[in-house]
């Protein structure tokens, strides 16, 4: 598949460097020789159809999965070669916003945001309180600090999870499908938050999503993956101009194109007649 550019372009020194990454799960090849550079301090989007392996990519970057071959370097460190304590040290510099929010259900909103601070620092309760209130204020949920996660809407839960993800002021934040199932207002709030946080905290952001328009509106650079390969990458403007059929189908949301609606199967008529024949025989 032709890419917009042969090699990923380093806008600034990359914070995440992925080279020749391959990953298989239960005999299914998810990635096959992917190369990516995530520039420092920028918002980088990874897009692709459902099941393309976008979440898997985040897990590989975070060290929750190990690649079959190839390398994933974060902040200059080869993730798969790190010992468990070293990996945990690296993860202190990362934040991740899960699709399901992943809030601890037996803790209040306040305690959820305070959780990583309590775990990794010896700050006094009053200092933790000030920090948590600052993070909650940033996501507009200071007033919801005493609520339990079960009392929050989907959008509010994402924002609490975002406040928790930035609690330790990470160098990099990974967003896993942050807009899925969000109403237009929540989506706009989240978009604004991601952009604001990236600019004010100078964080590197990796945004995994298949919401094309919204993601492209705040991204500095876009990677599109399909069938385990990187089919295109570039700035949003470059991506919108590409003539590649796969990219055009994805970006414009066309039903017809190289990406088939039907899962691979045998001849439809033949299968139907087989069923009819089976019924007659019995």
């Amino acid at each position: 598949m032709p890419a917009v550019k042969k090699q990923p372009v380093n806008i600034i020194e990359p914070y995440v460097k992925i080279r020749n990454l391959s990953f298989s799960h239960e005999n299914r090849k998810i990635f096959d020789g992917i190369n990516m550079d995530i520039p420092k301090g920028k918002i980088c989007a990874v897009m692709g159809v459902s099941g393309a392996g976008k979440t898997t990519l985040l897990k590989l970057i975070g060290g929750q999965l190990r690649p079959s071959c190839g390398s994933v370097k974060v902040d200059g460190k080869e993730v798969k070669k790190l010992s468990l304590p070293a990996l945990y040290q690296l993860r202190k510099k990362m934040g991740m916003l899960f699709q399901s929010s992943a809030l601890l259900t037996d803790l209040t909103v306040f305690e959820n945001v305070a959780f990583p601070i309590r775990e990794h620092s010896n700050l006094t309760n009053s200092m933790i309180r000030s920090l948590v209130l600052m993070k909650l204020q940033a996501v507009g949920l200071r007033g919801a600090q005493d609520l339990m996660p079960s009392q929050l809407s989907g959008g509010m839960a994402r924002r609490v999870a975002l406040a928790r993800a930035i609690a330790l002021d990470p160098m990099m934040l990974m967003y896993d499908e942050p807009f899925t199932g969000q109403d237009p207002i929540s989506m706009a709030v989240l978009l604004k938050l991601i952009k604001t946080l990236n600019e004010s905290l100078h964080m590197t952001s990796i945004l995994v999503s298949h919401d094309v328009k919204e993601t492209a509106s705040i991204s500095d650079y876009i990677y599109i993956i399909s069938n385990g390969k990187m089919i295109s990458h570039g700035t949003p403007r470059q991506i919108s101009r590409t003539k590649d059929d796969n990219v055009v189908q994805f970006m414009k949301g066309l039903a017809d194109g190289p990406e088939q609606f039907h899962y691979p199967a045998g001849d439809y008529c033949e299968e139907l007649f087989q069923t009819v024949k089976g019924n007659n025989d019995s």
Binding site: G62, L84, Y88, R91, Q99, A102, L103, T105, E119, L168
Partner: protein
């Protein structure tokens, strides 16, 4: 041929799972130091798995003691040995029924709850979320629950056994007219602290380790779906029951 292949695959999977469970237990014990440092985490779990099990254990203990006294009296009275009812009830309870029934109740009440809780945490990405916050879920979530179970089961066994003996006393002395002094003095003279009491407690400790281990492992290893959690919870109760009874036989054979 295909069936042999399936049996082989199933066997390999079982051995692999046992290996994973053993490694998991090793990591839990390695996290023991962290649990001692942050003992409040264990204490809060003792409340959930232990204190909240006190009611069911107490009621069951009392009724088991009463039934044992009724049955015992029926048999012993045929030989004119009603006065030995106390020692019969106490020895059966302290060595066998106390540790075994408490562990079975614990597996049903707290073990299944532990599996479901951890399984749901896995399904809703809470465990993955902890990992990404650089918090080891085994140290923070699994080990405190495991050690809480290990501490709770012997304590619950003491409560069960005490109430069972009291239940036996209530039926034997209170309702059936066995002599009060004979009931207690027979227990005092025939029940040995080391052979009966400590061995019973040792059994309950071993059962505590087994049930807690199975419960936390099944939760951690669950397939992250609703049916996965359901199967894991069932497996915890079934495997715990079989393991308790099998290990009880081995321990009894060693202790006699």
């Amino acid at each position: 041929m295909k069936q042999i292949q399936q049996i082989g695959q199933q066997s390999i999977k079982s051995v692999e799972r046992i290996g994973r469970a053993s490694l998991f237990l090793f990591y839990i014990f390695k996290s023991g130091v962290d649990c001692i440092i942050r003992f409040r985490l264990v204490i809060s779990q003792i409340y959930y798995v232990g204190v909240l099990s006190v009611l069911i254990v107490s009621i069951s203990g009392f009724f088991v003691g009463m039934v044992l006294a009724l049955q015992g009296y029926h048999v012993l009275s045929q030989f004119g040995q009603e006065s030995t009812l106390g020692v019969m009830v106490a020895s059966a309870i302290l060595m066998e029924l106390g540790p075994v029934v408490t562990a079975l109740l614990f597996a049903g009440r707290a073990g299944s709850a532990l599996t479901a809780e951890i399984g749901l945490m896995k399904t809703t990405d809470q465990l993955a979320g902890l990992e990404m916050m650089a918090v080891d879920p085994i140290k923070r979530i699994i080990a405190p629950r495991f050690f809480a179970g290990v501490i709770s089961v012997p304590l619950l066994t003491i409560i069960f056994s005490s109430l069972a003996v009291f239940g036996g006393y209530f039926v034997g002395v209170g309702l059936l007219g066995v002599d009060d002094g004979a009931f207690w003095s027979q227990i005092q003279s025939k029940i040995d602290f080391n052979d009966d009491l400590l061995n019973g407690l040792l059994k309950s400790f071993v059962f505590g380790v087994i049930v807690s281990w199975l419960a936390v492992f099944e939760g951690y290893d669950t397939v992250p779906t609703s049916s996965g959690i359901s199967h894991a919870t069932t497996r915890t109760v079934v495997h715990s029951a079989i393991a308790i009874l099998a290990v009880d036989f081995i321990l009894t054979a060693l202790m006699l």
